[in-house]
């Protein structure tokens, strides 16, 4: 993978998915939400890259893997401006943006309320989306309302 001038070269992928415009601070959250650690595909992660839009961005390339929309939309919580490029035969055949799930988010967000039952028993968390613009959600259990700044990913 080393070029002549001793720079690391990241190859374009033949088939797969490129997720661009992830805030650098959200890279590991995205990896965990998409459960990339469980895949055997070739993957490249770039982080702290220059970005005009975000200041600092991360990028993920996953070879030979296409995600369901429902899976990808889960990352909207941490990377609302992410852009997805679907690659087939080295060509970008489709571009997508992520969308915050409509009404309910299951099992991604950790409730920040220390006395919420979900932090004491093995329960899949569930949040109702109240506002998609500022990402306000309400815990199905303790009913606390939290916004983007308080959202913590499981």
């Amino acid at each position: 993978m080393k070029g002549d001038d001793k720079h690391l070269v990241v190859n374009a992928i033949e088939n797969g998915t490129v997720i661009d415009h992830i805030p650098s601070t959200s890279l590991f959250a995205v990896i965990s939400i998409l459960q990339l650690e469980k895949l055997n595909s070739q993957m490249t992660f770039g982080v702290n890259l220059e970005s005009k839009k975000l200041g600092s961005k991360a990028i993920i390339k996953v070879a030979g893997k296409y995600f369901e929309n429902s899976e990808l939309n889960k990352i909207a919580l941490v990377a609302p401006q992410a852009k997805l490029n679907i690659i087939r035969n080295y060509q970008v055949v489709e571009k997508r943006v992520v969308e915050i799930p409509e009404d309910e988010i299951s099992g991604i967000i950790k409730c920040p309320n220390p006395v919420c039952i979900t932090n004491h028993e093995k329960i899949t968390t569930k949040f109702h989306v109240l506002s998609r613009s500022d990402m306000t959600v309400r815990c199905n259990y303790c009913e606390k309302v939290i916004n983007r700044t308080q959202i913590e990913i499981l």
């Binding site: 309320n113 006395v115 919420c116 039952i117 979900t118 004491h120 028993e121 093995k122 329960i123 815990c139 199905n140 259990y141 303790c142 009913e143 606390k144 309302v145």
Partner: protein, 302 residues
């Protein structure tokens, strides 16, 4: 409402909880009705609350039902490390309804999701206590003859007070005017004020309740707890400010009623107790009728 759990006041529509209030009025006239013959009800109190438990158990017994359960977690298998899920699953095999109190918020909602029998939330941490809200509504309607267009003065800890938040939500269906009186540390959270703004409901915030006494139809007192203050000096400054005394009540309307979720500490002077404007003990009695109504309607017996 039949077979439906009651976890949060927002689970019921306005029509549904008005129906509960009507039923409660029936039970007030005729409290002993053998509707629960052959019914067994569990009262699971994972944290002690003598007042609420006795009220629910009185309601069940006045309806002729029988009760199993525990009064605090130390006398249950929780001390052996049993999960809430397992306790609920096990008890569900035995009874027709579960009434539960739990220190964790959301515990009752979770319980209602893992069992097929109805669950009544008798308090989950600082979150919800819907039977308290319904008995507050019942007491307001009974003493004022209506719920619409009342001036409600809420005094004390408006930040952490679960009862004032639920009452605010329920009353917001009835075009009230609220007066929120609290120390600045314990103000009504902005989320609730935004909710009122959206619905166009009037409210006033102040630190001093005296100027608002003459306007009030209902005075809802709450306890200001020392542990809520980060600065003990701040507590010392306010602890005697939010105390209702008999001498202050002359400026009030004759029809005003003073409500308090109890237990009271010193925020209502005992010299108020004999004043006909004091209503908190009757309010507690109303809780039995309201809980009879909740149980009978969920079990489809009324």
């Amino acid at each position: 409402m039949v077979n439906r759990s009651l976890i949060s006041i927002t689970d019921y529509s306005k029509e549904e909880y008005l129906r509960i209030l009507d039923l409660a009025a029936e039970f007030e006239k005729n409290p002993n009705q053998n509707l629960l013959t052959n019914k067994l009800i569990a009262t699971l109190f994972f944290e002690p609350s003598t007042r609420t438990r006795l009220s629910f158990e009185t309601a069940v017994q006045r309806l002729g039902g029988r009760i199993i359960g525990f009064a605090d977690a130390s006398s249950s298998s929780v001390t052996k490390g049993e999960t809430l899920k397992d306790t609920i699953k096990m008890v569900s095999n035995y009874v027709d309804m579960i009434i539960m109190r739990h220190p964790m918020e959301g515990a009752a909602r979770y319980a209602s999701e893992i069992t097929n029998i109805p669950v009544v939330n008798a308090g989950d941490g600082a979150n919800q206590h819907p039977s308290q809200t319904l008995l507050d509504l019942y007491s307001i309607r009974k003493t004022q003859g209506r719920l619409d267009g009342l001036n409600i003065l809420m005094i004390g800890d408006l930040k952490y007070g679960r009862t004032v938040h639920s009452l605010l939500m329920a009353m917001s269906d009835f075009n009230p005017t609220f007066y929120f009186i609290s120390p600045s540390e314990l103000q009504m959270p902005s989320g609730y004020k935004m909710l009122l703004d959206r619905q166009g409901i009037r409210y006033v915030e102040d630190r001093d309740f005296l100027p608002f006494l003459p306007k009030a139809d209902i005075i809802y007192m709450t306890r200001v707890q020392k542990e809520r203050f980060s600065d003990p000096f701040e507590y010392e400054k306010v602890k005697n400010v939010y105390v209702l005394k008999n001498a202050l009540l002359d400026s009030c309307k004759d029809t005003v009623k003073i409500l308090h979720p109890l237990p009271r500490v010193n925020e209502i002077d005992p010299d108020v107790d004999e004043n006909p404007k004091a209503y908190y003990f009757t309010q507690a009695l109303n809780g039995v009728y309201v809980r009879q109504a909740i149980i009978a309607s969920i079990l489809g017996l009324k």
